[in-house]
Amino acid sequence: MSVDFLHPGEGAAIDTNASALEMRGIGKRFPGVVALDNVDFTLEPGKIHALMGENGAGKSTLIKIMAGVYGKDAGTVRMRGREVDIKSPRDSLKEGIKVVFQEIALISEFTVAENIFLEGYPTGRTGSIDWKKIRADSAALFNRIGFNVDPAARTGSLPVSQQQMVEIARALAHEARVVVMDEPTSSLTPNEVSLLFTVIRRLAALGIAVVYVSHKLDEVFEIADTVTVLRDGRHISTKPIGEHTNDTLIQDMIGRRIDNLFPRQRGAAGSKVALSVENLSTAKKLVDVSFEARAGEVLGFFGLMGAGRTELAKAIVGYDPIISGTVTVDGQRLAPHDTRTGVRLGIGLLTEDRKSEGLMGELPVYQNASLASLGAFARLGFVDKAKEHQAVQDYVDRFRIKTPSLFQQIKNLSGGNQQKVLISRWLMRGLKVIVVDEPTRGIDVGAKSEIFALIDRLAGEGLAVVMMTSEMPELLGLADRIAVMCEGRLTAIMPREEATQEKILNAAIG
């Protein structure tokens, strides 16, 4: 069945007044957890509906049920008044539901055009693929949404932001009636975000019901018509965005007020230089970067996408090779330039990409925590398990890491708790400098403030914290000094007291 967006209601016998999607009494349990309990969620055509809640609130379970990734245990789903049974991604696509997940769902070896039609290749009379139509249709589609990409380009060669656009274009190609976007802006620059918002509004104008899943309050206030908040698997509220303020939204999400997102406990930074970087350049990005970080201080690095923050983080811990310059940790030069030396001198990286560079997802919590310090637990070359478990247990207690046991696979923990385990990994090793790259990426509001408190505490205990972030509030709330990067260069470095958003952005633009 094909549907013409511009003339809804023509053709099939459907109730034109009905909601685009109506979910009633949805329930879903996983072993030991009730992920969703009697949740209602209704989407109107042409409206942008934000879905909010902390991690573990049930947002992703709900959209995975829409996408057919999970089956539901209870409740009904209606599309335009007709009850539907979605058992697989195929069923979901057939009903016109298109979920754009945070992780790009494209085949990177295929061309952009082929990815657009991945869900159903147009075929000729013989059943062979009509490549001409694929190329022409995708070019026409891109024109329509004002998207400037070569349909013949290899998808893997495009930046993430453009790959995301390809996914949205794919939703249009298959005449989706419901488009769900899961945290779509987490890796976009401000410019790309505004392009994305334009496209989202265009989708809504076509009569598509858009679900916008996000943690970012300002974005939701900008784009959404309606907001539904989930908490602990239950429906908390559904209101027009006009009836919400920042405070009421946060309150709905966490069930309490966060009075101070950035509780500062630590005293003033010391004067001892813990990390000194001089004239650092790399082949890939960095040009002549010099700075110092003192024990007990949080030095925040800000920069737009591509400014070189992650590259700097990886270079100063010895992970990426450098072509010139020096890194000195606690008076000792980082040479040879590798992570083995880095860890020995006491500098470690908390990566922005937890999944692929931080966690060993299948392994238990304790092994993830003790990874960098196995030598300390070793006796005659064998790891003393009791000692290892005790040390990890200490950190679990200290940081209030929520895990059923030390033996739980770490992939089952929430993002915030995973992050705490990774921080423990470095603290156990006895670091002098910790480099944290986007420490709160993919972590919800409530857990964010815990991570902030933890970073504050690390500095309080005398570590030098070098924090890379693209989040202005995080930067202003947490850092003692603020460094700004642009295209691989350091363009400004200033004490927090002198920093304003304007000053920082100017330096970031270069």
């Binding site: 996408a67 990734v69 697989s88 991604p89 195929r90 979901s92 696509l93 057939k94 979920v99 997940f101 769902a105 494209l106 085949i107 990177s108 070896e109 295929f110 061309t111 055009a113 082929e114 991945l118 869900e119 159903g120 290749y121 075929t123 059943g127 062979s128 693929i129 490549w131 001409k132 190329r135 022409a136 070019a139 026409a140 891109f142 024109n143 400037n148 070569d150 349909p151 013949a152 380009a153 290899r154 893997g156």
Partner: protein, 331 residues
């Protein structure tokens, strides 16, 4: 570059096709170099007779290689094909001896092959067992079964049907061996399927990224299941040709054949990781190794050295590929 100009360009091949075209071009250049080298150094190497002979010898690996490459592209491996060659020769020869019918013998062999493909495919796709383990297991089981059944004696083809013998020494227009014709036709058909039929693209998608394929509504398990059936049936065809060539069912038939095919497939740029490679590349890989072996023999080099050289070439080729890919991704 404006959108309009790219859209109106006359049926440009996709970038993927161009990328592979380049890889295939590199393989083609290698093949030509091999041919040129031995044409100069080995007498009668570059003769119609020798060329078509080698083509005939290559037809087994070409035919089975199609299945091997398809399974690779889907992200799995199938190393049971060598034993399968020996196994299906049993029903083939026994039925022909009993009935004097090539059609019945071939049908019996294909039925056997189908069953083995179903078993492999089921265990990998539906039972979720690693394909290397599954096909290693069926490889041993089949080889052991053939040893037990034959008591390590060959079962000769007593029917000696003309049509069956033609499979080994018959030539189209008296030039191209029928076995090569069969391989070429199958290559063309499956090559077309891989590039232009939705199912072929689904195999690439499944091998490229299984989760993405599932989210795009594909039945990933069914795709893999079918790939193993295709592989088993194509190996059956190769086994029938081999049986015709040796005129019997032998317990040692196809010993180490799977590794020759895997080697040629990898040399042809088909990635073990799935999603990358083409049947054309595989075919060029087979031809390079076959002509190389033929030429080295012509130079009087012992078989032992051929093995050593083949091994080095495979590692060098894959290392070259990897370096190229890293450069492309690093830029």
């Amino acid at each position: 570059m404006s959108l309009a100009s790219t859209a109106s360009a006359k049926a440009p091949p996709s970038l993927l096709a161009r990328l592979f075209a380049r890889q295939e071009l590199a393989l083609l250049v290698c093949l030509i170099l091999v041919l040129a080298f031995f044409s100069v150094t080995v007498e009668n190497f570059f003769s119609v007779r020798n060329m078509t002979n080698v083509l005939g010898q290559a037809s087994l690996a070409l035919t089975a290689g199609i299945g091997c490459a398809i399974v690779f592209i889907s992200g799995e491996v199938d190393i049971s094909i060598g034993s399968l060659l020996a196994t299906i020769a049993l029903p083939l020869i026994i039925i022909m001896n009993d009935t004097n019918s090539l059609l019945l013998g071939v049908s019996g062999a294909l039925l056997f092959g189908l069953i083995i493909g179903v078993v492999n495919g089921y265990l990998v796709a539906y039972a979720g067992i690693n394909s290397l383990i599954v096909t290693l297991g069926t490889m041993f089981i089949m080889r052991g079964g053939v040893y037990l059944y034959t008591g390590q004696r060959a079962i000769p083809d007593d029917a000696s049907l003309d049509s069956f013998i033609a499979l080994s020494d018959g030539r189209l227009f008296n030039i191209i061996p029928y076995s090569a014709v069969i391989a070429i036709v199958l290559l063309a058909a499956f090559g077309y399927m891989m590039q232009h039929r939705p199912f072929g693209r689904q195999i690439y998608a499944v091998g490229g990224n299984q989760e993405v394929a599932r989210l795009a509504g594909y039945d990933v398990r069914r795709v893999k299941f079918v790939c193993f059936i295709i592989s088993a049936l194509l190996a059956t065809v190769a086994g029938i040709i081999l049986a015709a060539r040796v005129g019997s069912a032998q317990h040692t038939a196809g010993l180490n054949f799977e590794f020759q095919v895997v080697a040629a497939t990898v040399l042809g740029g088909v990635s073990l990781a799935g999603g990358i490679g083409s049947l054309t590349g595989m075919a060029l890989g087979v031809l390079i190794l076959q002509f190389l072996s033929n030429g080295l023999r012509g130079l009087g080099l012992p078989t032992e050295w051929q093995l050593v050289i083949t091994g080095m070439i495979i590692i060098a080729a894959v290392a070259f590929d990897e370096a190229k890919r890293r450069r492309a991704n690093g830029g």
